[in-house]
């Protein structure tokens, strides 16, 4: 579904991604772990071109999205993204947060979008919050709204960048549960996280990034039981 070929990313002189090639197939739940600053976010953000690669190609459903002629806005409609800090729109109600993009992009009319939004809100038990503003919600609620805001676009893949890192411990569970449900329903996802238990449980493949490269990857059981790369070993020793 997503194919990355020889991806490089530099910020000025600083090389953040070094020659990454990777394929993410439909239905996979790819979990990316690695030390802070290793380029996990940058890699994820390159997948929907929030960061422009310095060189290399990224294909989404066979289309080269790094090509100048590609309509990236169209592609992004099918790639949901969830951020560490939620980024709900504070001037819009919860309902408007969810319906805004589908309506503006003319994918649904207002009624359809609201029906969809209420369906999603009911699913996460927050339908009563539809008409309130994001400022009134807890972190866990905000993040779950951010997730269904993406879902309202009917994405084919979801990108999560440390979705629980900014949350109080008692709210992490509710967000992970929702992501878990999506995974079980077959959503293709790429997830950056520090939650190793969750990675093992939900991931179908774990990638370890270090200094801008994917230095090791494996199925979860193997990955955690049998790490090869010394840097991965010491990373796992430190976090487990």
């Amino acid at each position: 579904m997503i194919e990355v070929k020889n991806l490089y990313k530099k910020f000025g002189q600083l090389e953040v991604l070094h020659d990454i090639s990777e394929t993410i197939n439909e239905g996979e739940k790819v979990v990316i772990i690695g030390p802070s600053g290793s380029g996990k976010s940058t890699f994820l953000r390159c997948l929907n071109l929030l960061e422009e690669p310095t060189s290399g190609e990224i294909y989404f459903r066979g289309q080269n999205i790094t090509d100048k002629s590609c309509d990236i806005d169209k592609m992004r409609q099918k790639m949901g993204m969830v951020f560490q800090l939620f980024h709900l729109f504070p001037h819009k109600t919860i309902l408007e947060n969810i319906t805004m993009a589908p309506i503006l992009l003319k994918l649904m009319n207002k009624k359809q979008a609201e029906e969809k939004a209420y369906g999603l809100l009911e699913r996460i038990g927050l339908a009563d919050k539809a008409l309130t503003y994001p400022g009134k919600l807890s972190g866990g609620q905000k993040q779950r709204i951010a997730i269904i805001r993406s879902l309202a676009m009917n994405p084919e893949v979801m990108l999560f960048d440390e979705p629980t890192s900014a949350l109080d411990p008692e709210m992490i569970g509710e967000v992970l549960d929702l992501i878990h449900e999506l995974a079980d329903e077959g959503m293709t996802m790429v997830l950056v996280t520090h939650e190793m238990g969750f990675a093992r449980e939900v991931g179908t493949r774990i990638l370890f990034m270090d200094a801008g490269s994917i230095v090791e990857q494996n199925k979860p059981a193997e990955f955690f039981a049998n790490p090869q790369n010394p840097r991965l070993k010491s990373f796992l020793d430190a976090v487990l």
């Binding site: 409609q77 951020f83 503006l104 503003y133 009134k136 805001r149």
Partner: protein
């Protein structure tokens, strides 16, 4: 003594219905400031968006250069000179100075409002733009529906302030034969040979209106803060 003062009052306000001149003056002052601030907001928002876009994407090179020139010229020359040029050169055939003054002050204010808006747009968290773009919205849609509404809310108090500033600055429109509050006071000063009463009347009217506007702005800011949905 008291009789003298009453007589002066009479000369300045009642005699030949001179109070009407004050009313005309204050009306013109308020009208010019009000229309000018809206023209300024329109110009300022446009310029701010162009400049921020250019900064972010490198596009709109020419438009950005034009904006830069405009800002330099407007901020580098006295308002009175701009007003005189507008009235006697650009709109040399204009009979009524009021619309010309509205435009001149609007164009002038736009340069300052542009900076207010630019700061307001840049104060909106970058994550807001990224969230909008990641949903598939275009940069224009993201600007219009996500960034600008938040930026406008951020800068409303500063825009209210700009209106108060403009309200006082319009006191120079007498140069192009408009009877504003200042000019009204000056005319009556000349006709009545009384300086104290008409000039202090004008000053008091400016002051009272500024105080009222400042208070309104404070109430408004408090309401805005209360409705701040975080």
């Amino acid at each position: 003594m008291f009789a003298d003062f009453t007589h002066s009052l009479y000369k300045c306000f009642i005699y030949k219905d001179r109070y009407l001149l004050f009313i005309e003056g204050i009306q013109n002052t308020l009208l010019i400031a009000l229309v000018a601030v809206f023209i300024g907001i329109a110009i300022g928002m446009l310029i701010a968006v162009i400049r921020v876009y250019h900064q972010q994407t490198g596009k709109f090179k020419f438009a950005n250069a034009v904006c830069g020139l405009y800002l330099t010229v407007i901020r580098g020359t006295p308002m009175v000179v701009q007003l005189l040029i507008m009235y006697f050169v650009i709109f040399a055939s204009a009979r009524n100075g009021v619309p010309v003054a509205m435009l001149a002050f609007g164009i002038n204010s736009g340069a300052y409002v542009a900076e207010i808006f630019r700061a307001g747009i840049q104060a909106v968290d970058k994550g807001q733009t990224e969230a909008g773009r990641s949903l598939g919205l275009s940069s224009a849609q993201t600007m219009r529906h996500i960034v600008l509404p938040q930026a406008i809310k951020n800068v409303l108090p500063a825009l209210g302030n700009e209106f108060i500033v403009l309200f006082k600055e319009t006191a120079i429109v007498g140069y192009i034969a408009i009877v504003d509050l200042t000019r009204a006071a000056d005319i009556i000063r000349g006709q009545s040979y009384e300086a104290f009463i008409p000039l202090f009347t004008a000053a008091a009217m400016y002051l009272i209106i500024v105080i009222i506007l400042t208070q309104l702005l404070k109430v408004f800011e408090r309401r805005l803060a209360k409705s701040d949905r975080g």
